[in-house]
């Protein structure tokens, strides 16, 4: 069988969301998934610390959420973008802001790289 995900051929600046990543990110992704419910979004928006305390999150994970450190959440803590975007939505960070942060750019710098950034 051809190898579907070749661990000997890493893709630069890319993380493949495999089982290893899903295990690593399980806690923070589960926390993020909770924000698919409006009452949880309201609770988080009202008191971030109190809401986070109700979930199984490490000190590092809480810190990264507090810091809106999307790059760390994604690169280091196993975040899955489809879950993490729910934290972004509540805290006013859209997909493109999260993306710019992962690229190490400002939002404006990132937009300038796009073909028609009005389509956002």
């Amino acid at each position: 069988m051809p190898v579907q995900v070749d661990r000997n051929r890493p893709i630069a600046d890319t993380r493949i969301f495999t089982g290893e990543e899903s295990r690593r990110g399980y806690r923070i992704n589960k926390f993020a998934m909770s924000l698919a419910r409006a009452e949880n979004r309201d609770a988080f928006a009202a008191d971030e610390e109190a809401y986070m305390a109700g979930w199984d999150l490490s000190a590092d994970e809480k810190e990264a959420i507090r810091d809106r450190d999307w790059r760390r959440i994604m690169d280091e803590l196993g975040g899955n973008i489809y879950m993490i975007i729910k934290i972004g939505t509540v805290t006013g960070h859209g997909l493109y802001q999260i993306g710019a942060h992962q690229r190490g750019e400002t939002y404006e710098e990132f937009l300038a790289t796009r073909n028609a950034s009005g389509a956002r």
């Binding site: 893709i11 493949i16 969301f17 698919a36 690169d75 997909l95 028609a116 009005g118 389509a119």
Partner: protein, 280 residues
């Protein structure tokens, strides 16, 4: 017997839904995308006239989480509510299903050795909804019954491209063994090139996307041979969603007639469209 009459490959980018809900479809940056679907809508309504749309999509953290994530899940209900994936309920009508048809598909697929997760309650999200409102009107309600068919394209191991193709073949057999005379369209959604993680966020590959559009029409075997690694290297980690187009193409006849095609890549995702008529 029921029959597969058409297949559509289309991106399902969530920002399309936002622009749609905000009435921004005629803004300069959005117009090339939305205008391309108008002839497809008319073609479906006036020529293809499907009774049922099987929508092959993926759940992005709406009805499924990594506690229990299925490889293939199929809806078997008479109604699929609009879900909430983190930004509230979109102003769209809920989606009618056809439970009897879905259960027939499910029986055929499971006995054909596809290990489906069967969903009698399933809220749908952008992966399913964006293609629906791009391809169909919904005033006062949706003109087709729907079958959501969710594929894992977000947590590896994903089903192989070959497996997706075989699922499409099995869907065709299942449709053709249904005793009604329903006309069925299959929508394969997702992609095209994009990457949402790492410093490679925003990777686009329009040449590769256009080659995919060529091959999905006339040389799908070349796409079935691709590994996830191949797709991700060329087109970005999230471009693997495109394997869902192979379910659609596998459900069609070997030769197809292309009715419409479009490509637009304004921001971070290649937004592709191809509309194929079965057996033409």
């Amino acid at each position: 017997m029921a029959s597969v009459v058409a297949g559509i490959g289309t991106s399902h980018v969530p920002s399309i839904g936002v622009a749609y809900d905000q009435g921004r479809t005629q803004e300069p940056a959005w117009k090339p995308l939305f205008d391309a679907y108008e002839p497809v809508k008319a073609w479906l309504r006036d020529e293809i006239r499907p009774d049922i749309a099987i929508v092959v999509y993926n759940d992005h953290g709406s009805s499924f989480f990594f506690d229990k994530y299925p490889t293939f899940a199929i809806g078997a209900a008479d109604l699929y509510p609009v879900g909430d994936e983190g930004w509230g309920r979109r102003p769209l009508p809920d989606f009618p299903g056809d439970a009897a048809f879905s259960w027939h598909l499910t029986e055929s697929l499971v006995y054909d050795e596809f290990d489906m997760t069967v969903c009698q309650e399933l809220a749908v999200e952008h992966g399913f909804m964006v293609p629906m409102h791009l391809c169909f009107g919904h005033d006062p309600g949706w003109p087709v019954k729907t079958v959501p068919l969710a594929v894992n394209v977000i947590q590896h191991p994903l089903p192989t491209a070959a497996r997706c193709w075989k699922l499409g073949r099995a869907i065709r057999r299942a449709v053709e063994s249904y005793p009604g005379d329903e006309r069925v369209a299959v929508l394969g959604t997702g992609g095209m090139s994009h990457q949402l993680n790492g410093a490679r966020f925003g990777h686009l590959n329009p040449d590769w996307d256009n080659s995919w559009l060529d091959r999905i029409e006339s040389d799908p075997a070349a796409l079935v041979a691709l590994t996830h690694q191949d797709i991700m290297e060329a087109a970005g980690a999230e471009a693997v969603e495109l394997i869902m187009w192979l379910v659609m193409r596998g459900a069609l006849s070997e030769t197809v007639g292309r009715a419409h095609r479009n490509y637009y890549a304004p921001m971070t995702t290649g937004m592709g469209l191809i509309a194929l008529e079965d057996g033409a």
